[in-house]
């Protein structure tokens, strides 16, 4: 009796338990006449089991906090819960993660909501927009008066665009961002040596004082403080010294522990 032709893929389906019953019978008959094939299929089955076993045996932690946060956000999202404030925060974290901020301990503060929104938004906006050499801003410096009117009306506070010329910083322009705690203004400045700084402004109530608080965000330095009606954040690839000088120029107090 000549067995119907057996396809190679049927042998694999046999190994994987995905072959129909009647074809199984045929394959078994085929194997009975071809012992070499039995050895080959046994090797496939063994390697399949070994792949599973060895991958299972690798000690994999349950995932770091970013993964857990994303997982929770996804679960809630898919359960149709209302859009939550911190979901946006998770998305923001994802942006920062992809920008290489991952290993930073600031992330914890970030999740714990201890960093002011103005800093978070300014840092994100800096990461996203400042590298754009063609169109980094919505409104250019030429529209400074328009920007002041627009930003003042959106923030509900008087916004004056600071001149930092004396520090070698030229205004590139600005844009309005949608922060968790209300609108945030991003002003982008460029130094003579081409590095760029973001100044964030918002009308949110920020914990902390009028002295600048300097933190590290991955490769960037950032500072934030409260001044008058506004919360300020400065972000850029810069030195503490430059941050402190600029902040002082903008009216921030100097940290007691520095200088």
């Amino acid at each position: 009796m000549i067995a119907p032709e057996i396809q190679e893929e049927e042998l694999h389906a046999f190994v994987d338990g995905q072959l129909s019953k009647d074809r199984c019978t045929t394959v078994l008959a085929h194997l009975g006449q071809h012992p070499r094939e039995i050895v080959r299929l046994a090797a496939y089955a063994a390697q399949k089991e070994a792949i599973r076993r060895q991958l299972d045996a690798i000690d994999m932690p349950d995932g770091n906090e970013a993964t857990v946060a994303l997982q929770q956000a996804l679960a809630e999202r898919m359960q149709g819960r209302p859009y939550q404030r911190w979901l946006r925060r998770v998305a923001a974290i994802a942006v920062l993660l992809s920008a290489g901020w991952w290993a930073n301990s600031l992330y914890h503060q970030y999740l714990a909501d201890r960093l002011p929104g103005v800093l978070v938004e300014a840092a994100q906006a800096h990461e996203i927009f400042s590298k754009d050499r063609d169109r980094p801003v919505e409104l250019t410096a030429a529209a400074e008066a328009d920007m002041e009117t627009w930003f003042s009306s959106r923030l509900g506070k008087l916004v004056e665009i600071p001149s930092l010329h004396s520090l070698g910083l030229r205004l590139v322009g600005g844009r309005l961002l949608a922060g968790d705690d209300g609108p945030v203004v991003q002003l982008l400045y460029e130094h003579q040596d081409r590095h760029r700084l973001t100044l964030g402004l918002s009308a949110e109530l920020v914990d902390g004082g009028t002295e600048i608080e300097v933190v590290t965000l991955g490769g960037l330095r950032a500072g934030y403080w409260r001044g008058g009606d506004l919360a300020y954040a400065l972000v850029g690839p810069t030195t503490d010294q430059e941050l402190l000088v600029i902040a002082a120029r903008l009216g921030a107090g100097q940290p007691a522990s520095r200088l």
Binding site: E8, E9, H12, A13, D16, Q18, P35, R36, V39, R40, A43, Y44, A46, Q47, K48, E49, A50, I51, R52, Q54, L55, D56, A57, I58, M60, D62, G63, N64, A66, T67, L70, Q71, A73, L74, A75, R77, M78, Q79, L87, V90, A91, A94, L97, S98, W102
Partner: protein, 167 residues
């Protein structure tokens, strides 16, 4: 169904580990997958196949990362390069034999083997995850398994077994 998410994420992590060969990159890939899933969650229908959906997202994320890396180097076929790659970083992990050999397979074959072994995907589901026809999946599976068998030297002791069986 959504209650299975942690289980699926654990599976994604193992799949990512097999694909990338490093815990660090695997976790990155898991996060990228979850981020993409968050963005696409509105398109997922209740009662749909959550596991398949997530694995597809991961597969696409992985492919696009590989493509970015290799864009300048070589032309790509219908999904993943079939050319043999140099051994990748799985060696860094303290694992033996099968995983080390697996890591030397072309990514497309490795992906097929792992999906079938790890998650017990049906062929149809695994093909959907990878966005390829079943026939392509089967040929990758067959080539991958045979390459792995040869790499592990399991084709050599054959004669001994046979002599024993036949006598």
């Amino acid at each position: 169904m959504i209650g299975d998410l942690p289980h699926h994420v654990a599976g994604l992590r193992r799949y990512a580990l097999a694909l990338t060969g490093s815990r660090y990159e695997a976790e990155d890939l898991v996060q990228e997958t979850l981020t993409r899933a968050l963005g696409a969650a509105h398109g997922f229908r209740n009662g749909g196949n959550l596991r398949g959906w997530l694995f597809s997202i991961m597969h696409n994320a992985f492919i696009s990362n590989v493509r970015k890396r290799r864009a300048a180097e070589q032309e790509l076929d219908d999904g993943l390069p079939e050319l043999a790659q140099p051994p990748h970083q799985l060696d860094r992990l303290e694992v033996r034999d099968v995983l080390a050999a697996l890591s030397r397979l072309p990514e497309a074959q490795r992906a097929a083997l792992v999906l079938i072994a790890l998650e017990d995907f049906s062929y149809a589901e695994a093909a959907r995850v990878q966005g390829i026809p079943i026939g392509t999946l089967m040929s990758r599976l067959a080539r991958g398994r045979e390459a792995l068998r040869r790499a592990m030297g399991e084709d050599r002791p054959l004669r001994l077994h046979l002599v024993g069986d036949k006598s």
